[in-house]
Amino acid sequence: MRRELDITTDKIDEAALLKRRKLLGDMGAVVCFSGIVRGEEDGNPIAALDYEVFAPMARRQFELIFDQVEKRWPVASIRLVHRVGRVAAGEPSLWLETIAPHREEAFAASQFIITEMKRTVPIWKRAVAG
């Protein structure tokens, strides 16, 4: 399974990521997910979220999640970008692409990755008032 992980303070460039997509002949499903910073939290407007990361451990935990995906589904490729630092409302903080032969495993693996990320990957966020 191809893996690509980027934890970065740079803006997520979805167009560039899509340009680098590699598909094999037997891959029939691509699930792409973007997590966007909402403009409010608990009913209050916010300008941005500040993301803090414990980077070495975050990389390790993402790799453990990808290991589990590889064991459970015939996924051909995972590419994940998580932005850290200050991310303005309306901008993506997370981009995930999962490529698999069929939609069932592509959706299931994508959902699994995000759910596990929110459980184990040491990233925290703090609202910046709007």
Partner: protein, 81 residues
């Protein structure tokens, strides 16, 4: 044995530190370290039940026996995405 402890997210505010050194007896477990930290940083105590603990880059349970050179990290529940 001196154990280095790193704090993340609001644990930094609760302790006023990003990292500290604690003197631990050989054979001490993470639960022993946490007890010492709660005394040293009483503001951490209310959050104790929800705190997560890692050694190096892996999560560890309270009964993990600390080794010389271990780097321990303490942080609240994670919130990626």
């Amino acid at each position: 044995m001196r154990t280095c402890v790193h704090f993340y997210s609001y644990c930094k505010e609760l302790t006023g530190q990003t990292s500290v050194l604690e003197n631990m007896e050989a054979g001490s477990r993470i639960e022993d370290l946490l007890r010492k930290l709660m005394v040293r940083f009483p503001k951490l105590a209310p959050a104790q039940q929800s705190l997560l603990v890692a050694v190096g880059v892996d999560y560890q349970r309270a009964d993990y026996v600390l080794q010389e050179g271990d780097e321990v990290s303490i942080f609240p529940p994670v919130q990626g995405g």
